[in-house]
């Protein structure tokens, strides 16, 4: 008997076709489907069954393709989203429902979600929300907060139609780039490399701090089949350094003598594609010597601590400072004072798409295709590393499967570019989940001490904030965090006497960088928690206390900035007043009949300045009209799922006076689309949106001017002409008669917008931002006092967005931000070496996010396009403190360290009981 599979081929039905493959022993079905069969709609997020993105149906049952040996598919029927979307009526209705509900944001989890949902819909045509949760519980989403996914599946059988209309500002049109996401055809970082591309693997430090020596790399290279090249720091033609803040460029592409965090790169191996599955990273000739490390702020600031960087004494990288009035005087003379210390841990972005891309040489230029939030910054970083002129570098971003701040920094790009330059061939890489988690940036752990005082009538008198932020081994966006925190740590309140200092401290950890809110969420935990304590001590209702102290138009912020308009925090707080009253009554009634389960209601407010802090951050948007009458928008604001492609287009369409569906979008590409800046700092709707508005207005003005039409004229484009209908008269511009520019545009406009800000002085006084967005959230939680588990049961979120360009997308940002805030509050903590996967590092699942009621407040901003303000980061700022306040309300226990895991909550409850 030959017990091997007699036929070396494995044959199965893939969607509607029979396929035959020859997998290696132990090859994952996800690998075979993607690499062997080109089924790129199957996404890989973890290779461990933790995220479900790769879900396929085998004989109708959803399984993770990454956990399935390809050989097990023999004789079976494998269905993927790509096939289902083409042939399965349930899937087609579902696609439409996902689009209409805004259930796909970045789209990387969407195939897993939809395939799982199809299996459910085949069993149950009208599933309940609980059935949807059970069926989709194995697929993680980091963008949406899941609620719209639940709605989309529940509503699927009776597909509601999308909001009709021209997509003008204020209308909830489905996202313009959504169809590819809900049919599995969107191309992300790992979906674009040519089939013959070489493959990179990176050699990383196994220790937080280590010295290392390479063995005989040349011999190893010559004697290891399939290894095409090895790259180390000596192969970097330019500077072996990168960073995002000009004065803080400190991170080597490859460590040269010593590594400063677990997972830091020291070398890269370039493999032929067929050698990848057999390659053992452990075989690489390197010897490590572990060195004493400083992994905590206290360790790193101890006198004997190893220094991470020269000229950063005591491992203090930098500090931010804001001062107004006399805080110490106000605190010492106040009627009532509260103080506290609050601690947070590393938080991982945990987008479902690990960093991925490919690079190639094209006519002597280097071209990098990768997921990114900041294509032009990538280009500038590579300019330095490669020592090349920027005209010889082109960045073509792929679809981005979530970013949340971490994909602002370079990750795969330098390695890809170096390898492509070195070999002259296309080279690709997709980080494994663990190397993504080990090597990319995190949210800063914070250790905050805060004191706040108020007078008997409830007016805040003084506030003193002191925070140490663990910035990890390299600068990344640490300077931004230390600058932003003191500006925001007051919360959206009038604080006449204020002192705030935030230090960024180096440790032997992955770099802490940008993560939705740049340190402000950590600061808000301290401030909003102590506001509750202060209100209680004063005997004032917690919401009334906030209303009493909330900023208004014409009241100065702690930076001395006075807004004459647009301050919407009172409106947000007022909007949650009725929920505050009714939910507190309901919780009291619930608690009167429940001994172990206790409900509590928590509130918190927040604010966030949109755009860079007192620094220029222009966006440029170009548009043009071709001779055939088509309208083209060069939209370079990276859409990482938040909806820039849709929102910027809606703004442009309104300015030009045209239906959005008529606009042809050209995405970010450093060769053809001007710099719309980074997708960060909640700036795209505001800053790039303003540039899009200016671009649309300029284009419109040029057209109107040609025929001397009035501002109110209506424009119609098409068939090689523009019809300008102006009151009684009508003009037709025959575009074939007009000269066109190098881009083929007969009319063109390129406009730039840069928010008006002013520098901060040595006391942090000035104009840091041209606009702030504001918010207030309420949460009801249920605490199991015996086990310490906390279950949020409802959120009400009021957000002042100035003008909701697309209310559906606003809700999507609110729900997604709340989900991240909930994760940070209750379950998320990255511990290097211990939680480097998505089963030890927990993010919320579909069962963890309760219903969220979004209340949109529109307090127009004079600077924003049609009054719009930024939103993305604002959302999670109040979520964590609101949850902590609700736990306190439910149980009397004040949690001062997050995540509030069951063990920590239970310990706090026991301590409370012991104290009583």
């Amino acid at each position: 008997m030959d017990k091997r599979i007699v036929n070396p081929m494995t044959e199965f039905r893939l969607n509607t076709q029979t396929v035959s493959v020859a997998p290696l022993a132990g090859e994952r079905l996800s690998q075979t489907l993607r690499e062997g069969l080109g089924q790129l709609d199957v996404k890989v997020g973890c290779d461990a069954g933790d995220c479900g993105a790769c879900t396929v149906l085998i004989d109708g049952a959803p399984v993770c393709a990454c956990l399935t040996p390809t050989h097990q598919a023999e004789g079976r029927h494998v269905e993927t989203l790509g096939g289902l979307a083409k042939h399965d009526p349930d899937a087609q209705r579902l696609s439409e429902s996902f689009q209409n509900h805004g259930a796909a944001q970045c789209g990387i989890c969407t195939p897993g979600m939809m395939v799982s949902a199809v299996a459910l819909l085949r069993e149950t045509q009208t599933p309940s929300p609980d059935q949807v949760k059970d069926a989709l519980g194995g697929v993680l989403c980091r963008c949406t907060g899941y609620r719209k996914i639940i709605d989309a599946v529940v509503a699927s059988p009776s597909t509601q139609t999308a909001e009709a209309g021209d997509g003008t500002v204020g209308s909830s049109i489905p996202r313009l780039d959504g169809v590819a996401k809900v049919t599995g055809t969107e191309n992300f970082g790992d979906d674009v490399a040519p089939a013959d591309a070489l493959v990179l693997r990176i050699i990383r430090s196994p220790y937080a701090r280590a010295s290392f020596t390479f063995g005989h790399i040349d011999d190893w290279l010559a004697n290891t089949p399939g290894v095409e090249a090895v790259l180390t720091s000596s192969d970097v033609p330019g500077q072996n350094l990168f960073g995002v803040i000009p004065d803080f460029v400190d991170q080597p592409v490859f460590a040269e003598t010593e590594t400063r965090f677990l997972g830091e790169a020291v070398a890269a191996v370039v493999l032929s594609p067929d050698a990848v599955q057999g390659f053992d990273v452990e075989a690489f000739p390197v010897t490590w010597t572990e060195l004493p490390s400083a992994e905590t702020v206290s360790g790193a600031t101890a006198p004997s601590a190893p220094q991470l960087h020269q000229r950063r004494e005591g491992n203090v990288m930098c500090a931010g400072f804001v001062q107004q009035g006399d805080a110490s005087q106000a605190l010492s003379t106040a009627d009532t004072c509260v103080e506290g210390r609050f601690q947070t841990g590393f938080v991982e972005h945990a987008y479902i798409e690990p960093e991925a891309g490919f690079a190639q040489m094209v006519d002597g230029r280097i071209e990098v295709h990768a997921c990114t939030q900041a294509p032009v910054m990538d280009l500038e970083g590579l300019e330095t590393i490669l020592g090349m002129d920027r005209k010889d570098i082109r960045i073509i971003p792929t679809g981005v499967g979530g970013g949340f701040g971490s994909k602002l920094d370079l990750s795969v790009q330098p390695y890809l570019a170096l390898a492509a330059l070195h070999t002259g061939r296309p080279v690709r890489i997709a980080y494994s989940r663990s190397e993504s988690m080990q090597s990319t940036t995190k949210r800063h752990p914070a250790d905050i001490r805060l004191t706040i005082s108020a007078s008997q009538d409830g007016r805040i008198q003084g506030m003193d904030f002191s925070g140490d932020f663990n910035t990890g081994a390299y600068a990344s966006w640490g300077p931004t965090v230390s600058n932003r925190v003191p500006v925001h740590a007051s919360g959206p309140y009038r604080v006449p006497n204020y002192r705030a200092e935030a230090r960024a401290i180096h440790t032997h950890n992955p770099p802490s960088g940008a993560f939705r809110g740049f340190g402000v969420p950590q600061a808000a935990i301290a401030q909003e928690s102590l506001f509750d304590e202060l209100a209680d001590k004063l005997g004032i209702d917690r919401l009334q206390f906030r209303l009493l102290n909330a900023l208004e138009n014409n009241t100065p912020t702690v930076c001395g900035q006075v807004f004459e308009q647009g301050v919407g925090v009172k409106a947000c707080l007022t909007a949650i007043q009725s929920a505050w009253d009714s939910e507190r009554t309901a919780a009291a009634s619930y608690n009167s009949t429940n001994r172990v389960q206790k409900r509590g209601v928590g509130i918190a407010a927040g604010w966030y300045g949109c755009g860079n802090t007192s620094l220029p951050n222009p966006s440029t948007i170009k548009s043009g009209i071709r001779a055939d009458g088509s309208v083209v928008l060069h939209q370079g604001a990276m859409d990482i799922g938040q909806g820039a492609n849709t929102v910027i287009t809606q703004i442009f369409a309104k300015a030009l006076g045209i239906d959005v569906q008529q606009i042809k979008l050209i995405g970010a590409d450093t060769d053809v689309t001007p710099d719309a800046g980074k997708t960060s700092a909640s700036r795209q709707t505001y800053v790039s949106g303003s540039a899009a508005r200016l671009s649309g207005l300029a284009l419109r003005a040029a057209i109107l001017q040609r025929v001397n039409a009035s501002d109110s004229a209506k424009l119609e484009f098409g068939n090689g002409a523009i019809r300008v209908i102006d009151a009684a008269s009508e003009h037709v511009i025959d575009l074939s008669l007009l000269p066109y520019d190098a881009h083929g545009y007969v009319f063109g406009a390129q406009e730039t917008y840069d928010p008006p800000t002013k520098p901060l002085d040595e006391n942090g006084q000035g104009v840091p931002y041209a606009q702030f967005g504001y918010c207030a959230q309420l949460v009801v939680v249920e605490v199991d006092t015996a086990l310490g588990t906390v279950t949020p049961v409802k959120f009400v979120a009021a957000h002042d967005v100035g003008k909701a360009i697309n209310p559906l997308l606003v809700e999507g940002q609110v729900e997604g931000g709340i989900a991240q805030g909930l994760g940070m509050a209750l379950m998320e903590e990255y511990i290097p070496g211990r939680t480097e996967n998505l089963h030890d590092y927990l993010i919320p699942t579909i069962g963890d996010i309760p219903p969220i009621e979004t209340i949109i407040i529109e307090e127009p901003d004079a600077h924003g396009p049609y009054g719009a303000k930024g939103l993305g980061e604002h959302v999670l700022i109040p979520t964590t403190p609101a949850i902590l306040n609700a736990i306190k309300d439910a149980t009397g226990a004040r949690l001062t360290q997050i995540p509030a895991t069951p063990a920590r909550v239970r310990a706090a409850l026991k301590e409370l009981a012991d104290d009583n």
Binding site: R4, L24, A25, P69, Q72, G138, P902
Partner: protein, 277 residues
């Protein structure tokens, strides 16, 4: 390196004897453990072996084939004493994992947090091991000897789990504690099978705890003390939990685990006793 997928048990056994193979069933532990590392040896896929999957009733109770997937156990129509096992099955990972992962895989992976172990212990399950010298059986909690360690010898294969008949009036329950709703490794878990007499007092008790010791533990002292008690009035003492040896890890500290387990036992007993009441 080869991938063997025999359909006959004898072929599988002779492969185990002659080849350097690792056993793979659902793959839900094999692949995550391997990560990006290359295969070190050939694989023996046991999921196509005839008779290795599925549930079969006999005079000596229920035989659950080693390669039976958790989803099959969830869907099966089983007596009330299996309610804990079925509840545990529903909490294993996700639908995707339940459709792949097998009952014997869960046991052979020998994780202290294996969700299948406590309910199988409370059911008095035994492991059927087939090897070159024939078939042997041992209780499930003896078979697993420690984290990632079992009594499986070279050349042997787990072929089934056997559950002896239990009194028809008994009912099982399972309590799992984790930090999120789905896809969660247990901080602690408790399985019980409880029977009550006509007066509502407990007259049959099995209690097992997972994730609080290297191998899930049956609390026989507690079981004895539960007899004669009303389900809503049971007390859990330090002595009852003495067989446990929880550790402190990223999920929780040891003290919390003991604290939580005591509460979970009360809840599980209460839940199992309700329908007997």
């Amino acid at each position: 390196m080869a991938y063997f997928a025999p359909t006959a048990l004898n072929d599988a056994l002779s492969l185990l004897a002659s080849e350097d193979v690792s056993i793979i069933a659902g793959g839900s532990d094999v692949f995550p453990a391997r990560g990006q590392a290359p295969m070190q040896n050939s694989l023996l896929d046991v999921t196509r072996i005839e008779g290795l999957a599925g549930l079969q009733w006999g005079p000596n109770g229920l035989r659950i084939g080693a390669a039976t997937r958790w989803s099959e156990i969830i869907k099966a129509d089983l007596p009330d004493c299996y309610a804990g096992l079925q509840a545990a099955a529903r909490t294993i990972g996700s639908v995707q994992i339940q459709n792949s992962g097998t009952i014997a895989g869960n046991i052979c992976n020998a994780s202290p947090a294996a969700d299948g172990m406590p309910p199988l212990i409370t059911l008095g399950a035994t492991v059927e091991i087939t090897g070159p010298d024939g078939v042997r059986r041992m209780p499930v909690d003896e078979f697993v000897t420690g984290p990632r360690q079992t009594h499986l010898r070279a050349g042997e294969l787990v072929t089934a789990i056997h559950v002896p008949p239990l009194p028809g009036y008994t009912r099982g329950a399972f309590e799992k504690l984790g930090s999120r709703s789905y896809l969660v490794i247990s901080i602690t878990m408790v399985a019980v099978v409880i029977g009550c007499d006509a007066t509502g007092r407990i007259d049959f008790a099995r209690v097992a705890v997972g994730a609080c010791s290297p191998v899930a533990k049956q609390l026989t002292g507690l079981e004895a003390d539960l007899i004669g008690k009303m389900p809503q009035q049971i007390q859990i003492s330090t002595d009852h939990l003495a067989p446990l040896a929880p550790i402190t890890d990223i999920r929780a500290d040891a003290g919390y685990r003991l604290d939580a387990v005591a509460e979970q036992i009360k809840r599980a007993v209460g839940k199992a006793a309700i329908s007997n009441g």
